[in-house]
């Protein structure tokens, strides 16, 4: 690691004030230190935010939950309110990483995970995300794990989080605070597509700090499923993952949500696809139609065409499971 200075403020405003162009906030550190050891990131200053009062999980006025950004992934997944009201989130978190990493990683940090693209991690290779303008090695290289949706000629990386896929399906919101004050963003708008600025994973402005994630009242607790397809049974990133959430009225879908992981630079949702579920009988044909719509425009690279078919099958499976009732 490149040497850096270290500060540990106790108040949010102090943390934000400390932040400069060479700074990074550190919470769990599980991805940041990983990248610093590879010299992918070389911040001059780390601002340790673990002293900030961001560890509460509280009820919001409207009846949802506000989750402090420093709540660990494990604590969140096993929180009684999450397990009972938002099992989709719990399942997604527990499908990711390992118990050790989930004990360390923070809620806010999970949103800021960087891609697992091989080239991003290897400083000996060109990568636009790491070094803008150097080129995208993945596009004509090893791209079995890369994006099929929303990629650009500059970047084909995928966002690696499981938690964010569930948060996207749940219409979660992100609370951030910076020198210009506080903002509240929809999670689906938080991450961005690579376009010609793949170095930007999300819409945060320099120095902004994630303070909380907010969950709306509706948790789809009785009909949800998180399906993660990967190369080994555990401790591997998703090739494709699906968060499926349904509000059922008998066997009729009143409202449906589908979010995909492992296929794009951000959790992938499409309202038009979900509308194909609403008011329909929960059966494979309806699920397949929604899947086809969601995957419309998918563009495979040399090694990842299978992801399109796989995603389609996974969507149908996840929706079928969700329709059958949440497995507790």
């Amino acid at each position: 690691m490149t040497p850096f200075s270290y500060q540990r403020p106790e108040r949010i405003d102090q943390a934000i004030a400390l932040h400069g162009p060479q700074s990074r906030y550190i919470a769990g550190g599980t991805n940041l230190l990983d990248l610093m050891k590879e010299n992918v990131l070389q911040p001059g200053q780390l601002i340790d935010i673990n002293g900030l009062p961001l560890r509460e999980i509280e009820r919001t006025a409207e009846g949802g939950l506000r989750i402090g950004a420093l709540v660990s992934n494990a604590d969140l997944a096993w929180h009684p309110q999450i397990e009972q009201r938002y099992p989709l989130l719990s399942k997604a978190i527990l499908a990711g990483a390992s118990p050790q990493l989930r004990n360390m990683a923070s809620t806010g940090g999970n949103l800021l995970q960087r891609t697992r693209c091989y080239y991003f991690y290897d400083t000996a290779t060109p990568c636009n995300k790491r070094e803008p303008g150097s080129g995208c090695s993945a596009r004509d290289g090893r791209n079995r794990i890369h994006a099929i949706l929303g990629a650009s000629e500059h970047c084909a990386a995928v966002h690696p989080s499981d938690m964010c896929v569930a948060l996207a399906a749940l219409d979660a919101r992100v609370h951030v605070e910076g020198t210009h004050g506080k903002r509240r963003l929809e999670l689906v708008d938080f991450h961005r597509l690579p376009g010609d600025q793949p170095q930007q994973d999300n819409v945060l402005i320099e120095g902004e700090l994630i303070t909380a994630i907010e969950l709306p009242v509706e948790g789809f607790a009785s009909h949800c499923a998180y399906l993660k397809v990967r190369d080994r049974a555990s401790y591997a990133f998703a090739l494709v993952s699906v968060a499926a959430a349904l509000e059922m009225d008998g066997d009729i879908i009143r409202r449906g949500r589908i979010a995909l992981g492992g296929v794009a630079h951000k959790p992938w949702r499409l309202e038009e696809a979900e509308e194909l579920l609403n008011g329909k009988r929960a059966e494979p044909e309806c699920f397949a139609a929604a899947a086809d719509r969601l995957l419309q425009g998918a563009q495979p690279l040399a090694d990842n065409a299978f992801k399109i078919d796989l995603a389609r099958r996974a969507i149908v499976r996840a929706l079928t499971e969700a329709a059958g009732g949440t497995v507790r």
Partner: protein, 733 residues
């Protein structure tokens, strides 16, 4: 001796277990050395070319950085190939770290930064700038197939007439199988600590499977005869990666010599992908049989990758000439040199991939003939190794088939692929045969009974997790009639009696025989000692009329007994050393270990995910010294086989000539959740030919055949043949 109290053959706990579970076992990078400096390796980013310049100024300017070592300022090293040729060297010109400005492969060590802390060394290493003259490279075996040459391997001559037998046969299979590059990836990264002694001698803590191999290598390369001692008491896994001295060792020595200080060089996980590996191969199998499945002709042709500087060969195709009865056999093996490092023996080298291809082809043949795959093996059973024309000293493979099939419930296998389901899962069953050699190498051991009656047995072998400490303690305790607690076995020190590389499943056979022989010598000395006294009741006795049991020397007649401790209290410590070579009686026989592996898989019919749900592995490996540790070896081999079948592949970007998934997040080895219950059966196998112990070794046989059994089970589940490993879900969708 092998009395009722003998520990031999008992499922005893590992003697080094308490040290390992408490964190007290000390591995190579962990020796406490005062004033230690730390090295960090700078690796090449290109696959082929020359170093035009190295700018180390920024690194050297950091306080605490002591040295940036390159080919320009390294200490003198040998310039001919021979000094670099270690006990496991391939044909050719061995790689010489920091020798000159040539870049031979991506990841090659080009500089070593030495600093006062590891963190500083790593940081400084990131500041070293290397300017290259880049040359065109080739790392793709597929693209270089035409440039292949015959491997310098001693293949059996073709026997019979393959072409006409094949043409005349009723049933034929002709398939090509592909296997990827795999890396050993032991959990412990390779590391060396070179402890610089006041007189200039070097005491070295290294991760290796052969302390004397490393010692000789360094003595030759650095012209330091008699000044080097290598220690390696604990090895955090190796699987072949420690058979040759790896580059961190000479780098650490260079730095220590240059600085006259003690230096540690520990590779990063990424750098664990910058030396030997299992090579990528393509294998063509042609099997021809009559209508009943009797093999008429076999052709097995392999092409593997190697480096530009060495021809790495392994026993890859020979298995097809020995496993079944067949009169017409033709084997071929070619190598294509690429701009990569030389491959390296990796768990059951050659057999792991060669038998995979053969056993998949046999499954395809069974389907072609329309008989059960196990029945096909039985119809072609032989007790003769056709390559050598010799009968096996023992071969209880038939018992493996029978007991394994029964335990597994093979009779319940559906003959028709894709006909057994459980919900979304397609269930399939597959089997394969495994085979490995039963080798023995020359080895020595020393046994010393001290004045307190404690036995110390030593040999310069290794325990890489294989249970050498425990097995040798058992053999010695048995030989001397002592309890396990009264015996200590020491290894991993180049100053101990000569031992071969710890590999090839030959350690129990080689070192175990030497331990046995040394103990026999010690028994004679003890008897001689008691006979010193004129009135000894043992006067006239010889080793045939006495026995060593329960810590005593006694007449078999039962009239007299004397505790060994009493003998040495009078005589002082007694010691015997023995060197053992394979007995000539072996020459008339073929020797080998065998297995039958049965696997059940569950394949999600929509998602393609594959789960191995049951494994039975029946093993014939002679006498098992310790069923607990040996069973664990087999289980580990099966886990490796599952990884080979489903997970492991080092991905290379041929444009860059560089491995891209060089970490443990993207180079997938199985995790706990991938592994089902694994049922190991050791069938009875009595062998008086292989060695006095009748023991053949179990480190390799556990993996051989497993990947084929998994692939065959996947075919049975899905009706799909996937002929290139690993079988990832996209290949079965």
């Amino acid at each position: 001796m092998n009395s009722a109290n003998s520990p031999l053959g008992k499922p005893l706990d590992r003697v080094d277990g308490p040290l390992k579970v408490t964190g007290k076992a000390c591995y190579a990078a962990e020796a406490e050395v005062p004033g230690l400096l730390y090295g960090a390796v700078v690796s090449s980013s290109i696959a082929r070319g020359r170093i035009k310049g190295i700018d180390a100024a920024a690194a050297e300017a950091l306080p605490g950085v002591r040295l940036v070592l390159t080919h320009q300022n390294r200490p003198p090293v040998a310039s001919y190939d021979e000094p670099y040729e270690d006990d496991d060297a391939a044909d050719g010109s061995p790689f010489r770290p920091l020798y000159n400005d040539r870049v031979l492969y991506s990841g090659q060590p080009l500089a070593l930064v030495v600093a006062e802390t590891q963190a500083l060394a790593r940081h400084a290493a990131s500041l070293v700038r290397i300017e290259y003259e880049v040359e065109a490279h080739q790392t793709d075996l597929q693209a270089a197939r035409e440039q292949a040459h015959d491997a310098p391997a001693e293949l059996p001559e073709p026997r019979g007439d393959f072409d006409s037998a094949c043409a005349a046969a009723a049933k034929r299979v002709d398939c090509e199988y592909g296997t990827p590059v795999e890396h050993h990836n032991p959990m412990e990264p390779h590391a060396s600590i070179v402890q610089y002694q006041p007189g200039g001698e070097l005491l070295i803590h290294d991760k290796t499977q052969g302390v004397q191999n490393c010692q000789r290598y360094l003595e030759q390369v650095f012209d330091m005869q008699g000044k080097i001692r290598v220690l390696s008491p604990f090895v955090g896994g190796a699987f072949g990666s420690g058979l040759r001295p790896q580059y961190q060792l000479p780098l650490a020595v260079m730095a220590a010599l240059k600085l006259k200080a003690s230096v540690r060089v520990e590779l990063t996980r990424q750098q664990m992908f910058t030396f030997g590996y299992r090579p990528r191969t393509f294998q063509q199998l042609k099997l021809a049989a009559d209508g009943e499945g009797r093999l008429r002709a076999i052709e097995h042709k392999a092409i593997g990758q190697t480096s530009r500087f060495e021809d790495f060969t392994e026993h890859e195709v020979e298995w097809s000439g020995m496993l079944y009865a067949c009169d017409n056999v033709r084997l071929g093996y070619r190598l294509a040199p690429l701009d990569v490092y030389t491959p390296l023996d990796m768990r059951a080298p050659g057999a792991t991939i060669g038998v995979y291809a053969l056993e998949c082809a046999m499954d395809e043949l069974a389907h072609e003939v329309g008989i059960d795959p196990l029945e096909l093996r039985l119809r072609n059973y032989t007790d003769i190794n056709g390559n050598e024309g010799k009968r096996y000293s023992s071969k209880e493979l038939r018992a493996c088939y029978q007991q394994g099939a029964e335990r597994f419930g093979w009779s319940r296998r559906p003959a028709q692929p894709r006909s057994l389901r459980d919900g979304h899962q397609l269930v399939g069953m597959g089997m394969a045969t495994g085979v490995w050699e039963a080798m023995q190498m020359p080895a020595s051991a020393r046994a010393c009974l001290d004045a307190d009656g404690r036995l110390l047995v030593t040999s310069a072998t290794a325990d890489i997790g294989t249970g050498t400490y425990t097995a040798m303690t058992q053999i010695a305790a048995d030989a001397m009639g002592l309890s396990m607690a009264e015996v200590e076995f020491r290894l991993g020190d180049s100053s101990l009696p000569q031992a071969p590389l710890e590999g090839g499943s030959a350690t129990v056979s080689s070192v175990g025989s030497a331990v046995q022989r040394a103990c026999a010598g010690l028994r004679q000395k003890l008897l001689d000692a008691v006979q010193q006294s004129p009135a000894s009741p043992f006067t006239g006795a010889n080793l045939e009329t006495v026995e060593f049991v329960d810590g005593q020397l006694r007449l078999k007649s039962g009239e007299h007994a004397v505790p060994l401790r009493d003998i040495v209290q009078v005589s002082g410590a007694l010691e015997a050393e023995a060197s053992v070579k394979p007995d000539e009686k072996r020459d008339a026989w073929a020797t080998g270990t065998h297995s039958a592996v049965f696997v059940e898989v569950r394949v999600d019919e929509d998602l393609g995910t594959i789960k191995v749900s049951r494994v039975v592995s029946a093993i014939a490996a002679g006498r098992i010294v310790n069923p607990k540790t040996a069973g664990n070896q087999i289980v580990g081999g099966v886990v490796w086989g599952i990884g080979q079948a489903l997970h492991e592949e080092t991905l290379i970007d041929h444009r860059l000539g560089r491995y891209m998934n060089h970490n443990l997040a993207e180079y997938h080895i199985p995790v706990n959740a991938d592994i089902p219950e694994i049922d190991v059966i050791f069938v009875e196998e009595h062998d008086e030919i292989v060695n006095d112990l009748g023991s053949k070794g179990v480190g390799e046989i556990g993996i051989v055949g497993v990947a084929a059994a998994v692939a065959n089970a996947i075919y049975n589940a899905t009706g799909k043949r996937v002929r290139d490993l690993p079988i990832t879900l996209d290949k079965v969708l």
